[in-house]
Subunit: 333 residues, 2 copies
DNA sequence: TACTCGGACTAGAGCGCTCTAGTAGAGCGC
DNA sequence: GCGCTCTACTAGAGCGCTCTAGTCCGAGTA
């Protein structure tokens, strides 16, 4: 920086002004400084800048490698953060790298706020974190913790999906549970409620699972094995999320079960996988971009006005009917 | 830090020593300092640390959101970097966020080296980058650029896959090209060479595609349409990567084409998707963990010894035979 | 002319660390 | 006692910026 200042014949302070795009420098000088900087290959050191400024204007994002929906969210976080003048730092949790570790890394880099995508850490930890920094949780409700919360109205989404299936004549609708996955408790509850509302209480069946392809595959195998033992297949399955639906779909199709002729499958998330299937997955869309924007906005709002309390955004999901849901097969009389 | 020093009754320098785990402090003092720090909630500011140290000991990783293989790589990068005492910063390229932007963000955060996962930027830019910082490219060869290069021996992988298929009796083996995707030029070349070597020159067919599910779906539709017009299906398809194979697989299965009875499908990458399919995708494994370790090691080696020239690591891929490849169907005489 | 005012620019402190050079004191041999 | 070394510790400069509190100068005003 000193080199640039000298070579451009100005003070370091002026260079700083130019690089921060602040008033106080003539157009002429601005151009000269930028030109010199470019020649020298100078690029402001964000560490020093950050140190001097006292604020980092950086948002940390913790996500889980392999969660396709997270990557959709990340793609939405960047532009919104940029629009608001914030930098984004990513830190991944992975096998062998706990969420806590990923979060601590962000904190060490002086992120002013952390946005957690579907965190799985303990409530107590998250609450403590929320007291230490502005924290936003996406998808996962963290009861009694000082964190903002962005999610979609799981209940509404499930209800739409269930109404759709019932309208198509389905009665034996099975739900594959998302286990500890974000939102699954709400989805499970909504599934039960919808079944009850449609007078299908006796057909309620929740199969324990997870938000992974494996879970869908296993459930598929389970259902097929049951069929071979005489128990009829359900006519429709409401999967825990798209990945699970994918796994199920592959297993069923592979076994000669035609979707949606024999079984209808509905997913959840509308992650980019869903449009990719040849006939398209009927699923409940969570608008990743909108969720990302809310998360960023919540974080920034609380950074700029420390008095603000954490908020909750509930976004309306929307059933997207594609090819994997159809009329219920006629019951063998 | 000053607070900690005062409360522990030592100098700031001593606190620094303790936190850097350096010799020069008694066990007793160490414990006292750490205890006080914990009470106060002190956590070293990495910006200041970085500034003072002159080195950031941070590796920047650029990846593309949605590329499943990249997430596999990331999972491998973290532990190796940690082992060598380096921090990792992630920056994603996404729709609306160019690779250059992602890379510049890393540089702005004073990453000492950047590891680019399957970069798609122009050679000239990457070369310039390579002259500015230690740069490692994974999967994508960047000719004439000053960058380390880690990849798998595409040729060997393809050859293994082709030998496998030919051994199973296949002759009409089609290759779906990966377009501009990393490694695809080599794979295409190796496919042609293998066909020639097996005396199948007249059956060579490369269908333009990309490393995406869409591409597989489109190719599937194309092949099915051709079949309907009288041209027989190929008996085997070597896809550009796993995602492409997935798309193809779904399309074919959906249309009643049985895999591998009617058509064999081979992927490339062995990304975590492949084990997840119910019958398992026959694919060429690129060992993500090993590649990640090499990439990190290359970066760190060149950081610690500036005289080192960029190197190239060619890892041997390995054909993993699973369920999607089988004997060629008997030709309708 | 004397003044104010605002735009362009500068000096220098300070951000929270690390690191070099140094001190103080204990332990040792002679 | 002396010098020596070794360990435990400290003072203070400096990392590359930002920011506050200025200075300087020319145009506008009375």
């Amino acid at each position: 920086m000193a080199d640039v200042a000298e070579k451009a014949g100005v003070s370091r302070a002026l260079v700083s002004i130019v690089f921060r795009n602040q008033p106080g420098a003539s157009q002429e000088t601005r151009e000269r400084v930028l030109r010199v900087a470019d020649e020298i290959g100078y690029r402001p050191d964000s560490a020093a800048r950050l140190l001097a400024r006292g604020r980092s204007r950086t948002l940390g994002v913790m996500f889980t490698v392999h969660q396709t929906f997270h990557t959709d969210l990340i793609a939405g976080i960047y532009p919104e953060a940029e629009r608001l003048g914030y930098d984004v730092l990513l830190s991944a949790a992975a096998y062998g790298r706990s969420e806590e570790k990923a979060i601590e890394a962000l904190l060490g880099h002086r992120c002013e706020a952390v946005i957690l995508l579907g965190p799985d850490a303990e409530s107590a930890y998250l609450d403590e974190l929320g007291h230490r920094t502005v924290t936003v949780s996406v998808s996962r409700r963290v009861p009694h913790a000082r964190v903002d919360f962005v999610h979609s109205a799981e209940g509404k989404g499930v209800r739409q999906a269930m109404d759709h299936l019932v309208e198509l004549g389905h009665r034996r609708i099975v739900h594959i549970d998302g286990g500890r996955g974000p939102g699954s408790a709400e989805r499970r509850r909504a599934y039960r409620a919808a079944m009850r509302r449609h007078g299908l209480e006796s057909d309620v069946r929740v199969i324990p699972g997870a938000h992974t392809e494996e879970s869908g595959i296993e459930t598929g195998r389970l259902l097929l094995a049951e069929r071979d033992r005489g128990r009829p297949l359900p006519t429709a399955v409401l999967a825990g999320n798209d990945r699970c639906a994918m796994g199920l779909l592959m297993t069923l199709t592979r076994a000669g079960v035609e979707v949606p002729r024999d079984v209808s499958v509905v997913g959840y998330d509308d992650s980019h996988l869903s449009h990719l299937m040849p006939i398209g997955l009927t699923t409940v869309r969570q608008d990743a971009v909108l969720m990302a924007e809310h998360a960023v906005r919540f974080a920034v709002d609380r950074l700029e006005d420390r008095g603000l309390e954490p908020r909750e955004a509930v976004l309306d999901p929307k059933l997207v009917v594609r090819g994997t849901s159809g009329p219920a097969p006629r019951e063998p009389a």
